[in-house]
């Protein structure tokens, strides 16, 4: 009676700025798509995010970014994943990130995908399904 492997996603809102509305909307959309979303809330450090991702054995880390800290947080998360032999966990993000930064983060391999506020839930869900199936 093997169940299908459940997709598990960690959603975190690193940095110091205030609200996590966007992250919650995404979390709900992923749940409605049948995924398990570990929601860790506000003010996460990269260390906390990576440790939680390891304990929770998630397939994906999704970081919600509003504060402009993206150029430091994504590389740091990737570095910590490597140090913990956990680089098979896919890092994605969403939020207000300027186009040129998106290009830089993706081309340097610090994030597999970055969704801007215009992205639909369906796009994000579809993308996660695709990359986890490939992994």
């Amino acid at each position: 009676m093997r169940e299908e492997k459940k997709i598990r996603v960690l959603v975190a809102k690193p940095g110091l700025d205030g609200h996590d509305r966007g992250a919650k909307v995404v979390a709900r959309a992923l749940r409605d798509a049948g995924m398990e979303v570990v929601y860790t809330g506000l003010h996460q450090t990269a260390e906390q995010v990576v440790e939680a991702a390891i304990q929770e054995d998630v397939d994906i880390i999704g970081l919600s970014i509003l504060s402009g800290a993206h150029l430091t947080i994504f590389p740091r998360v990737c570095q910590l994943l490597r140090e913990n032999n956990a680089e098979d966990i896919i890092v994605m993000g969403g939020g207000t990130i300027p186009d040129e930064d998106i290009e830089e983060l993706i081309s340097k391999g610090f994030a597999r995908a970055l969704f801007t506020p215009g992205a639909t839930s369906a796009e994000i869900v579809g993308w996660i399904r695709k990359v986890t199936a490939e992994n």
């Binding site: 009676m1 093997r2 169940e3 299908e4 492997k5 459940k6 598990r8 979390a27 709900r28 992923l30 749940r31 409605d32 798509a33 049948g34 995924m35 398990e36 979303v37 570990v38 929601y39 860790t40 809330g41 003010h43 996460q44 260390e47 906390q48 440790e51 939680a52 390891i54 304990q55 929770e56 054995d57 913990n84 032999n85 956990a86």
Partner: protein, 319 residues
């Protein structure tokens, strides 16, 4: 891979522990081999169950208990169970939010799980995950479960000590709390004691306990807590230690664990028989034929069940 995971669990590799838990949750084929192999390393962890209505403050209490347990130098595993949506199979697992302070403590391992359609309120995997955390070297395993309706009664199957968390306001006057939940408590917590009505809740629980009439060897203590400032958490910790001492010295701990082994074997047999039968029966031509014959009243479900059972082969029991 299997061997690497088994060794990882025993040698304290948290990545392998996390992987093993996923395999168990997904009912992967490696599951039984892993659980068998680690079994000799289990039996040391003390298991603490925390249940109560949604939002009662269970995660906040776990967070604060972690502080005290860590001060004692104990290694702690936490299994935080949240409901899975019956419609989509998805879940939002949010208990970690309250436990962030322990996120970087290498002696604490927190795992969130969805109930995945198990009516017991506890994920079917919970029992097996306790074993993994036990073999991993945790001295205490805390299980936080969704307290909805009757389901949390399941927790006493796995927990050595069960804590029921109530709150003053919430309209859940003790009388209205579903039968069953009062009986499972080894310790009562009235959390949010900063809110009005805490005294009333305490005396209602107390009256309820007296109403039972019969003299008990252990009368569940009632502890007031406020997780906002930590008051009462020390007292809760002492109550837990007292209960453990009571179980150990009276021989009840040993007895309860033996009963648990008995039930585990029966559960496993049932599960294996059921899944083997189901695999052979579901969708089979014979089964479908019988369904239509029952519909046309040529035979009846009772006769059909017997007929199917006769053709079942239980020799190659499937995992």
């Amino acid at each position: 891979m299997q061997q690497k995971i088994i060794e990882g669990i025993i040698n304290g590799d948290r990545r392998m522990v996390a992987r093993a838990i996923s395999l168990i949750e997904d009912e992967a084929s490696e599951k039984e081999t892993i659980l068998s192999a680690i079994f000799p390393y289990t039996g040391k962890a003390y298991c603490l169950g925390i249940t109560g209505a949604p939002g009662a403050g269970k995660s906040s209490l776990v967070d604060q208990l972690l502080v005290l347990l860590r001060r004692q130098g104990l290694r702690v595993g936490v299994i935080a169970v949240d409901p899975t949506s019956p419609f989509t199979g998805g879940a939002i697992l949010g208990d970690r939010i309250r436990m962030q302070e322990h996120a970087l403590d290498k002696a604490v391992f927190i795992r969130s799980m969805g109930t995945r359609g198990n009516l017991g309120g506890l994920s079917r995997a919970t029992k097996d995950v306790i074993q993994i955390l036990d073999a991993f070297g945790k001295d205490v395993v805390i299980i936080e479960t969704v307290g909805v309706g009757q389901s949390e009664v399941d927790i006493i199957k796995y927990a050595d000590t069960t804590v029921v968390v109530l709150t003053p306001a919430s309209g859940d006057s003790v009388q209205t709390i579903k039968a069953g939940i009062m009986e499972i408590a080894d310790v009562f917590v009235v959390n949010k004691a900063d809110l009005p009505g805490a005294d009333r809740t305490v005396s209602e629980i107390s009256m309820m306990l007296d109403l039972g009439g019969k003299k008990r060897a252990w009368r569940p203590p009632i502890v007031r807590t406020i997780t906002l400032d930590g008051s009462g958490v020390g007292e809760l910790h002492r109550a837990l230690l007292d209960h453990r001492e009571y179980l150990t010295s009276s021989g009840r701990l040993e007895k309860a664990r033996e009963d648990r082994v008995r039930r585990d074997i029966v559960d496993l047999i049932e599960y294996k028989v059921k899944s083997t039968i189901w695999r052979q029966v579901s969708g089979s031509a014979e089964f479908e034929l019988l369904v239509s014959r029952i519909m046309s009243r040529e035979t009846d479900p009772y006769a059909a069940a017997v007929q199917i059972l006769r053709s079942i082969n239980l020799n190659g029991l499937s995992p």
